[in-house]
Amino acid sequence: MRLLRLLHALLPTALVVAIVAPTLPTERFGPAPGAIARVLLQVSVKEVWGMYAPDPQRAQTYMELVAEYRDGRVAGLEENDELANGWGTHWAWDKTRMSIWRHYANYHPDSRNDNRTWYLRMVCVREARRGDPPVIVRMFQVKRRFGTPRAVAHGGPSLSEAERKLVTLAYCESGPVKQMIDLDRARRPESDG
């Protein structure tokens, strides 16, 4: 009976450890918090909380994708709608979850970001399915900084002029992306037609 009580008490104790441990700094608590976080991540539970931390965004960045085709054409892709219409207001009904992925893909423009890599590969496959695969997709970031409340109160702009910057190129005909497109065509033969 006592053993059963002990085992029962271990369940909430383990849950509390699972909730608290991933939030602890590894430099002070060693590898245990990370190990527990990795186990939880397997079932998509993340216990690292950091909304608007350490600061809220002070600029908004959208991606701009420009596709270059084999015949020399250059065209913007559907991602650019957000760039054109994303500076006003947003409600739940005009957001899709793809916008969250694009947001992640914009992180760390100056360093490697796997979320961006997979997003751009996905774009290559998507465009190939539509029958017009680009050769290269150029990803730019367009950033506008928010004016400080003091500046805005004195008549300054609430959003700065746009700053455009090339982030990376995705080669849709290169090894891994081409393999993705080929495999996708093999799996979905109807998409060729």
């Binding site: 006592r2 009580r5 029962h8 008490a9 369940l11 909430p12 104790t13 849950l15 509390v16 909730i19 939030t23 990795r38 991540l41 397997q42 079932v43 998509s44 539970v45 993340k46 216990e47 690292v48 909380w49 950091g50 909304m51 608007y52 931390a53 350490p54 600061d55 809220p56 965004q57 002070r58 908004q60 207001t89 947003h90 409600w91 739940a92 957001k95 899709t96 979850r97 969250i100 992925w101 947001h103 893909a105 997979w118 997003y119 590969r121 996905m122 496959v125 998507r126 506008r144 928010f146 400080t148 409340p149 003091r150 805005v152 109160a153 609430s158 495999l183 996708d184 799996r187 979905r188």
Partner: protein, 328 residues
């Protein structure tokens, strides 16, 4: 004699420890509060799930441009049924089953199997492409997982009507309280930037972000900054940081038998939280975070309060029905 005197205190210590463990975790309580918590949280989970309709195949099946082994390669740390089952019709079928499971979980019919199916569907969706989910969505997975591990069907449910009321251990509400407290306090401690601590401009910058603002009113917000937003920035920050202290205060107060000199802080503390989340929901698009956070506050109701709340709700329903009946 010596043996007897040495054993007696040990027994006493063990008994005391047993009592502490009992009061903190294991003592049984009426299941109504946990039942109400289940209804509140699962209502939001169901609403959130339903908003995927129309995009299920595009997000989670072979119809997604990121599919097959490449999807698995992109998200190697996650588990998902949709890495195995990929046909769009099958994924949509599993999703449909998930919606039914949520409804069963909500009304508490076959609660345990329903919650398992509902949870597997969430794990599969988020695991299949975690980049479709943002920080506020984390709370969904955390609460769904915790509720899965609790006997939430024992109160305010069809199962309870069928099997009769059965008590639940007190740890169920406490663990959810812990989850809520960790979420706020951890976030508050990580907010160490100058907009929170030095300039008091964090709320202003949050509300003017065109990524998710509902209203494009930077001039109004700038005018409100010195008198409203700046003080509120500090209040929100310290409210978050101190949330763990509030939770410990309340638990200790409960363990001490709720003495009069130990004030109950729930109404002002959680009332501020509700007001803050209603404000966030009104001003920003943050997916389902605000309703879910408010739903989680049901964990702070005592069983007695939950029972009274439910009785009032039922009474009101009866009165409404009576008022609607044709006279004569």
């Amino acid at each position: 004699m010596a043996e007897a005197t040495s054993v007696a205190p040990r027994r006493g210590a063990l008994a005391a420890l047993d009592r502490v463990v009992g009061r903190v975790w294991l003592d049984p309580e009426d299941p109504t509060a946990l039942g109400l918590l289940r209804i509140a949280v699962v209502t939001v989970l169901t609403a959130s799930l339903v908003t995927h309709i129309g995009a299920v195949a595009e997000y989670f099946s072979a119809a997604s441009p990121l599919a097959g082994r490449y999807a698995r390669e992109a998200f190697p740390s996650r588990m998902s049924l949709f890495f195995i089952v990929e046909a769009p019709w099958a994924v949509q079928g599993i999703f449909g089953l998930g919606v039914v499971a949520h409804l069963c979980w909500l009304v508490g019919w076959r609660t345990t199997p329903a919650s398992i199916v509902a949870w597997v569907v969430w794990v599969s969706m988020v695991g299949r492409n975690p980049l479709l989910y943002s920080l506020p969505d984390q709370l969904q997975m955390a609460l769904a997982t915790l509720l899965l591990l609790m006997p939430t069907g024992r109160g305010v449910s069809l199962d309870a009507r069928r099997l009769g009321p059965r008590p639940v251990p007190v740890w169920c509400r406490r663990v959810i309280q812990f989850q809520v407290a960790v979420m706020y306090t951890a976030t508050g401690l990580l907010k160490h930037g100058p907009t929170w601590h030095k300039h008091g401009t964090a709320l202003y910058f949050t509300l003017v972000n065109p990524y998710n603002r509902h209203f494009d009113i930077p001039d109004v917000l700038a005018a409100l900054q010195p008198w409203v937003l700046s003080p509120l920035t500090y209040v929100v920050l310290w409210w978050e940081i101190c949330f763990a202290g509030f939770m410990l205060w309340q638990i200790t107060r409960e363990l001490a038998g709720r003495p009069r000199r130990w004030p109950d802080l729930r109404l002002p503390w959680l009332g501020f939280g509700v007001a803050m989340h209603v404000g966030i929901q009104a001003m920003l698009y943050v997916a389902w975070f605000s309703p879910l956070a408010i739903a989680s506050y049901f964990a702070f109701l005592t069983p007695g309060e939950a029972t009274r709340l439910l009785a009032r709700f039922r009474q009101r329903g009866k009165q409404d029905v009576a008022a609607g009946l044709p006279s004569g």
